[in-house]
């Protein structure tokens, strides 16, 4: 039985980050236990399901049934409705997260990981200042299991890090209330992602319409907790948006959850524990997208963990810092930079948003690029212009 074993690694959370980590470490011969609180991996999906294709390919070879549709166009709709349409240089996918998540966990299992679902972790065990395992409830029975290293891949609501003393309190402006429906009977372009920005519709956030096909879409809203108004929840706002913009739509499914628009966590490792994915805030703080960065953090963390455990080195905070530094150097600094745009973007008023859209629409077609959207948005903020250039050349 898995409860009686001592594992090299316990991964808490079987989303894309946790599963990617488990697969990589198990395939190197480490003993890995993957725990997930869900009864069935991949349901419910709390996600808009969009990813950039090139980044995705670097991490996993896409299977046909993972992809609902290809994205090559970005459409920004300002408050006055005068849409800006931009050809994306890079293509994207709308994933079927349910199948994708399931397959990744299957891969982890095939690589040798032990996968246990319906396992809720509600504490970590700590001995001599080291995390030595986790405790929780499995099928209504308490369990306790030991490992050399614990991975917190437990998502936006994850508490593993906090149990281990990592401070990860959100400020209200950095956590977005997300609500999404899958709607049929909508008429959209199946290769375009639509973003509606308006302080009336989605204060401190935006509405996304991501196609699943030309007649079905994920329609979601994120609003800042800071902009809370009684009686005007994310759900109330999205329902009214959908009725207005997609009259006759049929609601097929509903999902919701917190969306992270935050700075990277400074500390994501401690003695015997590290955090990956949403739990480590590896999320784009402008868009709220976190699938790719979550999996990237898993890859860095797996490389460091394999090196330590395979060579009999202690997974102490000092040794795990290699992961934290690798993450910050290669990706985290970009998250930091994007966070500076985030505040500037979400503080624009509706007139400013309309003006930006008008200016972009005046550009000749070949100049309508995401880079120029950013450039025009921040032309009055020289301090951010250099950041934009860096962002787009990736330094």
């Amino acid at each position: 039985m898995w409860q009686q074993q001592k594992f090299d690694i316990i991964v808490v959370g079987g989303g894309p980050a946790g599963a990617t980590f488990a697969q990589r470490t198990a395939s190197k011969g480490l003993s890995v236990l993957l725990l997930d609180k869900k009864k069935r991996i991949g349901t419910p999906v709390r996600c808009g399901e969009a990813v950039a294709a090139e980044d995705f390919h670097a991490l996993h070879k896409p299977q046909k049934n993972w992809i609902r549709t290809n994205i090559n166009t970005f459409c920004l709709i300002p408050p006055n409705g005068d849409a800006v349409t931009i050809d994306l240089k890079q293509t994207g996918y709308i994933l079927n997260r349910s199948i994708f998540d399931n397959d990744l966990v299957k891969f982890a299992e095939q690589a040798g990981a032990t996968v246990v679902t319906n396992a809720y972790v509600n504490a970590v065990t700590i001995e001599d200042d080291f995390v030595t395992g986790v405790k929780g409830i499995w099928n209504d029975e308490p369990f306790s299991v030991q490992s050399k290293l614990v991975i917190g891949a437990d998502g936006v609501e994850g508490r593993i890090g906090r149990f281990a003393g990592i401070k990860s309190q959100f400020s209200l402006k950095d956590l977005i209330a997300g609500y999404e429906i899958t709607a049929s009977n909508v008429d959209i372009d199946k290769n375009t992602c639509y973003f509606y920005v308006s302080n009336k519709v989605a204060p401190g956030g935006y509405v996304w319409v991501f196609p699943r096909s030309s007649a079905e879409a994920n329609i979601g809203i994120g609003i800042s907790g800071k902009k809370y108004e009684e009686g005007n929840s994310a759900k109330v706002r999205l329902d009214s948006f959908s009725r207005k913009n997609f009259p006759g739509y049929k609601e097929e499914a509903v999902t919701m959850g917190g969306i992270i628009l935050a700075k990277p966590l400074k500390k994501i490792v401690t003695n015997g524990l590290l955090l990956i994915g949403d739990a480590a805030r590896t999320v784009d703080p402008v868009s709220g997208g976190g699938i790719i960065w979550g999996m990237k953090s898993a890859v860095y963390a797996a490389d460091v963990s394999i090196d330590l455990l395979k060579n009999g080195k202690e997974p102490s905070e000092a040794n795990l810092l290699d992961y934290q530094e690798m993450w910050m150097k290669n990706e985290g600094k970009q998250v930091k930079r994007l966070y500076r745009f985030k505040d500037a973007i979400y503080n624009l008023n509706d007139d400013q948003l309309n003006n930006i859209a008008r200016k972009i629409n005046k550009l000749p077609a070949h100049k309508k690029t995401l880079f120029n959207v950013f450039r025009i948005t921040f032309q009055n903020k020289p301090a951010l212009l250099l950041d934009i250039a860096k962002q787009f050349v990736g330094i």
């Binding site: 936006v156 609500y179 800071k226 994310a234 109330v236 919701m256 959850g257």
Partner: protein
């Protein structure tokens, strides 16, 4: 006193994420507030996507 309408709750965890006291416990279809720790800061009310968390006067409970 902060109360979650368990009939309407989707168990999405957004309130768990924002709670500064780490006092909301969420199992698959169960959610509980540890009232010994809750400070009634109301952040959970502000982030709930479907507004099923409310602050009710003690007398109503």
């Amino acid at each position: 006193m902060i109360v979650i309408d368990k009939e309407e709750c989707d168990y999405c965890g957004t309130c768990v994420a924002i709670c500064p006291e780490n006092c909301i416990d969420l199992l698959e279809q169960e959610i509980d507030i540890d009232y010994d720790l809750c400070t009634e800061c109301k952040l959970c009310i502000y982030v709930c996507p479907i507004e099923v968390i409310s602050d009710v006067a003690a007398a109503e409970v």
